[in-house]
């Protein structure tokens, strides 16, 4: 477990920028995620949500700024140190990203067997436990991912994300492509799993139903910057025109198909 000071944010991004060629995707992200809380980042398509998540995970290296995990700067971690840091993370990908050449239980146990050199038998037991935890029958463990529905694949992805009891779990569009009932099931599972583990969760989504279900705090990203952050209770009265437009899904407002004006971050107290 972490040795950070009690008030140190679990995740802290300070002035993070990232460009791809001439395109500036992140333009100075400042974001704190308190330990044990579930923070959801909302924002339109192409605003930099996924890039921000990949920067935190180290899949993409930020150009400037700092990414602190438990107060430790991880922005340029490489090799063994990065692998060690990865041990704190669990991640549920948008499309589940299951390994299609492996059985379901092998997918769930993958990080334990290959990443932590756990014995296969022990890892299989944990995998079955986690499958049950996400509401799947143990027999599902012997199927291949291609034999599962989208919702079941998401559950397996969630089981894999929590298999190693991570301190931080990332959720990338956890309910995209699911029917409303299955989306709600996944939201409940996320809430349940994160609560039981006592983990810190950082999710990105467009789905407002999901936001209201899983968030303790919400932040809105727009044009590569966090423009509002506050508790879920303040979301409907954020006083931010961009947030209002987004949560009500209105076509008219400050965000138009042609772009927007420059805006400063607001924080709800």
């Amino acid at each position: 477990m972490s040795t950070a000071q009690p008030n140190t944010p679990k995740i802290s991004l300070q002035g993070v920028t990232k460009s791809f060629g001439p395109k500036k995707v992140l333009q100075g992200i400042d974001l704190d995620v308190p330990a044990g809380k579930s923070l959801v980042v909302i924002g339109g398509s192409g605003t930099g949500k996924s890039v921000m998540l990949k920067c935190i995970l180290g899949l993409i290296e930020a150009d400037q700024g700092s990414i602190l995990i438990d107060g430790q700067d991880t922005t340029h971690l490489k090799g063994h140190d990065r692998d060690e840091m990865m041990g704190k993370f669990g991640m549920l990908f948008q499309g589940a990203a299951l390994f299609d050449s492996l059985k379901v239980w092998e997918n769930v146990a993958f990080g334990l067997v290959q990443g932590r050199q756990m014995k296969k038998r022990q890892a299989q037991e944990i995998a079955i436990e986690k499958l049950i935890a996400v509401g799947l029958r143990p027999e599902v463990g012997h199927l291949y991912p291609a034999e599962l529905s989208g919702g079941m694949q998401k559950r397996v992805g969630l089981a894999r994300a929590i298999a190693a009891n991570p301190e931080i779990i990332f959720f990338d569009e956890p309910t995209t492509g699911l029917d409303p009932i299955m989306a709600d099931v996944i939201n409940e599972l996320i809430r349940d799993c994160v609560g039981k583990l006592g983990a810190t969760a950082l999710s990105i989504t467009h789905d407002m139903g999901s936001v209201r279900k899983i968030a303790d705090e919400v932040a809105m990203i727009h044009d590569g910057k966090i423009i509002w952050q506050g508790p879920i209770e303040k979301l409907d009265n954020s006083g931010n025109a961009y947030v209002d437009q987004f949560i009500h899904g209105r076509a008219s407002g400050p965000v138009t198909k042609h772009g927007t004006h420059t805006i400063q971050k607001q924080t709800a107290s």
Partner: protein, 279 residues
């Protein structure tokens, strides 16, 4: 209004500027192409260096290496076997009909064995494996890239170079020489079949002639080529798959690029290795 000489001077000036712009644009385009090429060479070299380093640094994934050995070695055997068998048979026929013009039919066995071991088995096996394995490696890794499975590996504390790239490179480099060695035997056997059963050579004399003319360097040079070709096919398959663009088109392009680039490099390195061994 401009006077006539002033107008003419203006037109000439405009023509000169337009010509200069065209020249500068052409130079710029050449410069861009050179820079792109150098960047590509740099990226591939870095990828190769990283892949080789991970082939020798633990942890290793023996199950993955074994799986790739079976995929690349065992399952390519029918393709390589058929290719070398028919190449040996055709070579015997062609050599016989061609050499008859110079009353040199007796050289058929020698031509078959030298051609097969030095050139045809390694090059044809290399090209066939490039089509079969290079494409499969590129498509599989590109699909994993597109569906975020490679990112998932990283988040599960597994280095994709160790788990995906190194096993394929090790298996490709080790298996192609073995395939070529078997291909050598099958190719020579094809020539023998045609020579003995169709062209009227005596079985004993054909084998003796083959054995007499064959030198260890003929086989060794072919196996060295095969090792290099196996490395080229596997590393380029991995490179193009790993750097695939998003979507179905990206996977398709990765597959095509892997096969085309490895086929061309096989032909280039075939010349270089032949030059080293036999010049």
């Amino acid at each position: 209004m401009n006077s006539a000489p002033e107008s003419l001077a203006y037109t000439l000036d405009e023509e000169n500027t337009s010509f200069l712009t065209k020249v500068l644009n052409s130079i710029q385009a050449v410069g861009h192409t050179i820079l792109y090429f150098l960047e590509l060479v740099g990226r591939i070299s870095r990828f190769i260096g990283k892949a080789i380093a991970h082939c020798f640094m633990p942890p290793f994934f023996p199950a993955q290496i074994l799986r790739q050995i079976i995929d690349i070695g065992y399952y390519s055997l029918p393709v390589v076997g058929m290719t070398t068998l028919f190449t040996g048979m055709v070579l015997a026929l062609q050599t016989y009909t061609g050499f008859t013009r110079f009353n040199a039919e007796s050289a058929v066995a020698a031509v078959v064995v030298i051609s097969i071991t030095r050139e045809l088995a390694p090059v044809l096996a290399g090209l066939m494996v490039a089509g079969r394995i290079g494409a499969a490696i590129a498509a599989e890794i590109a699909t994993m890239r597109v569906t975020e499975q490679i990112d998932a590996l990283t988040t599960l504390s597994v280095n994709p170079f160790k788990y995906l790239i190194a096993p394929r490179v090790i298996a490709g480099t080790l298996m192609l020489p073995l395939l070529v060695l078997i291909g050598d035997i099958i190719g020579v056997f094809g020539g023998y079949m045609v020579g003995v059963h169709s062209l009227g050579f005596g079985a004993g004399s054909y084998i003796t002639q083959t054995w007499d003319v064959l030198e260890s360097m003929d086989v060794i040079s072919g196996l060295v080529k095969a090792g290099v070709f196996g490395f080229i096919v596997s590393i380029l398959g991995c490179y193009h798959g790993y750097h695939s663009a998003r979507g179905a088109q990206g996977v398709g392009a990765a597959t095509t690029n892997a096969v085309v680039s490895s086929s061309i490099l096989i032909l280039i390195f075939n010349y270089i290795i032949t030059q080293v061994f036999f010049s």
